[in-house]
């Protein structure tokens, strides 16, 4: 199918260089950061049409992250559910364990092109920080990662990996000591050091980050198109992704935005309830706002303050969402659903037992929704789920849930030896 690239398509509107997605997006930062963002936006415009940069990007993805990642049918679970055929795009096979490395490689190559020596990044669970640290080590860039104190304590293995890779990890004691506070600390570092390059971890933030990270992630959907045609003999009927900030979702969705036959579903963290502080469902329960550099939907307290969030998966535990997804939600192009902590944990177990994969708790939200949808569809229909990350990082969380006794025994053993 030939897509004519005009301003009227969603795809071209997202990458038109303006950074406005309907009423959302924009670049709401202190004036002191404008020169850095303008320089970045200019460089992003250039590289999109620079065959040398694009080749280097693709070669690096292949060489260090093993792209293309596998496209895997899920026959046993599909048979049990008795409806559509399920496939997963296994982004968990990437180096450092998740799709995050795609935009880290892209942004780090861009930083190098601009002659930057120092990288600043934020991280929640540590996946984006880990990927950033790996890419910076490989490219010889100095790297400082900000992490909320709470995340720093509960994701200590990732802190260790980042430090082993030569990055400086700074725990942030402000506010709720989670991702949001890490983002703010990273921005403050950037204000004090505007010559540094801020390597942002999702399709959020001021222009050009939402469009730029979409551009670096769209390889996921491009590969799915080809793999799905080869394996299933048709394009997907449904693509499903979990949504925290939206980087893996934009990765799988972008390529199919202008094809009405492909339904797109984003699944947010339903957490443990619908009250404020119990979930992280921005598009279902958030309100319009302008924060951390962009106009979108945010979880707020009703008077313009940012509210607390909750999800069992640290990667979805964030107050904002990509302005591109906010627009596509308003447009009705992407449907948004919820999956609870419990449903996500159950999905991890199902995929492990029935298909042999340990998926990340974040990605499990997408699977949980697919399990509800599949039985309502016919056997000829195809659902593709983005397994955005692998689940080894969740060891202590899932183990506490499934086998608390063995975790305690192991902890005691470690302490005694």
């Amino acid at each position: 199918m030939q897509i004519i690239e005009t301003e009227t398509t969603y795809k071209s509107a997202i990458l038109n260089g303006k950074g406005h997605f309907g009423p959302y997006g924009g670049c709401y930062v202190p004036e002191v950061l404008m020169p850095a963002l303008e320089e970045m936006a200019q460089a992003f415009e250039e590289i999109q049409h620079d065959p040398i940069f694009l080749k280097e990007f693709q070669d690096t993805l292949n060489e260090i992250s093993g792209r293309p990642t596998a496209f895997t049918p899920l026959p046993r679970i599909s048979k049990r559910l008795g409806g559509a055929m399920l496939y997963m795009k296994n982004e968990g096979l990437n180096h450092t364990g998740a799709h995050k490395i795609n935009h880290c490689i892209g942004q780090a190559l861009l930083a190098k092109r601009l002659g930057k020596q120092r990288i600043i990044a934020e991280t929640g669970a540590g996946q984006h920080g880990y990927a950033t640290a790996a890419v910076c080590a490989r490219l010889g860039l100095d790297c400082t990662v900000y992490m909320g104190r709470k995340d720093y304590e509960r994701q200590r293995p990732n802190v260790y990996w980042m430090e082993l890779l030569g990055s400086k990890v700074v725990p942030v004691d402000d506010g709720s000591q989670t991702l949001n506070d890490a983002v703010i600390a990273a921005f403050k570092d950037w204000v004090a050091n505007p010559e540094s390059f801020y390597l942002l971890g999702s399709a959020v933030g001021p222009h050009p980050f939402p469009a730029m990270n979409t551009f670096f992630q769209k390889i996921v959907g491009e590969e799915i198109r080809e793999q799905c045609l080869n394996m299933a003999g048709k394009l997907p009927d449904y693509c499903i992704a979990c949504v925290g900030g939206g980087s893996n979702a934009m990765g799988i969705f972008y390529n199919f935005l202008d094809e009405a036959s492909v339904s797109l579903i984003g699944v947010e963290a339903g957490g443990k309830g619908t009250k404020p502080g119990e979930h992280a469902s921005k598009l279902k329960r958030g309100v319009e706002g302008i924060f951390e550099g962009y106009h979108s939907y945010f979880l707020q307290d009703g008077t313009g303050n940012i509210a607390a969030t909750h999800s069992v998966s640290a990667g979805l535990d964030y107050c904002g969402v990509s302005p591109i997804l906010a627009w596509l939600s308003d447009e009705g192009r992407i449907q948004f659903e919820n999956a609870s902590d419990e449903e996500a944990l159950n999905a991890v177990q199902s995929i492990a037992r029935e298909e042999g994969f340990i998926i990340a708790l974040e990605s499990a939200h997408g699977f949980a929704h697919a399990f509800k949808l599949a039985p309502t569809l016919s056997k000829e229909q195809v659902i593709v789920i983005n397994a955005s990350g692998r689940g080894e990082k969740d060891l202590f969380i899932t183990m506490r849930h499934f086998q608390e006794e063995s975790l305690l025994t192991y902890a005691k053993h470690l302490l005694n030896t």
């Binding site: 709401y28 002191v32 204000v191 004090a192 505007p194 924060f291 951390e292 707020q300 313009g304 303050n305």
Partner: protein, 241 residues
């Protein structure tokens, strides 16, 4: 006799009534301008002192935008001549409704608004200007000559310069390129007023800054003094002739 200081505080810290008393103390000390900040849960450009004050005002005292407007009205009634500039992060006033917020400020004879995370040429900035409130651009030494020229073509009449690349409450230093920024503003808009802030904490800093621009802007130093219970002493030292 007024002293060329624009003194800042967070409304609602440590309580709404105490922040009003602090504003009165600033006025009594002769501060030329009051910069009164609406507290926000996540102040993205502020250092630890102002962040702490914001957090207490929001989390402990639950201060709303209407509470702040009430405090402003109280101060205005008793000090009709005092110049007041309001500062807020964008999301609080965006959620309140920009046209309504601007209308409330105008009623209180407040003409200027600082919104640190709002570029002064964005759509919301246009809404603010169209509702009769003049934004105060917050600029740093890295503003390009072209960008500044563009800003100077518009109707701003007060410029807030960051002393250096840092957040509020950091150690004071003056970036060498600021002089060129000041010269460009003076050459194009001789009537515009200029203040310098971020890190000013001693009488010497105040003297250095006010020897080239109109106002020294002081926030964290006063708020820290308030926290430590020695505001009177610190204010006396900084405002003494």
């Amino acid at each position: 006799m007024s002293t060329p200081i624009m003194s800042h505080l967070v409304l609602g810290y440590p309580s709404l009534s105490e922040s009003i008393l602090t504003a009165e103390a600033y006025i009594a000390a002769g501060c030329a301008i009051l910069e009164l900040q609406i507290p926000f849960s996540h102040p993205t450009a502020d250092g630890p002192v102002i962040t702490q004050a914001c957090r207490e005002a929001v989390e402990k005292n639950n201060i709303s935008v209407d509470d702040c407007l009430g405090a402003l009205a109280d101060i205005r009634t008793r000090f009709p001549e005092q110049e007041i500039i309001v500062m807020s992060y964008l999301n609080r006033v965006f959620t309140y409704g920009l046209p309504n917020f601007c209308q409330q400020l105008r009623k209180l004879d407040i003409r200027h608004l600082i919104v640190p995370d709002l570029p002064v040429d964005s759509p919301q900035a246009v809404t603010i200007q169209n509702n009769g409130i003049t934004l105060v651009p917050v600029l740093a030494a890295n503003v390009s000559t072209e960008r500044l020229k563009k800003l100077l073509d518009r109707d701003f009449d007060f410029y807030y310069l960051m002393s250096d690349f840092k957040i509020t409450g950091s150690t004071f230093s003056l970036h060498p390129r600021l002089e060129a920024v000041i010269q460009q503003i003076r050459a194009t808009q001789p009537a515009a007023r200029i203040g310098i802030g971020f890190g000013i904490s001693t009488k010497e800093h105040v003297q250095l800054v006010t020897s080239t621009v109109d106002y020294a802007i002081i926030g964290s130093t006063f708020i820290k003094a308030k926290m430590d219970g020695n505001l009177g002493q610190v204010m006396g030292a900084l405002t003494a002739a």
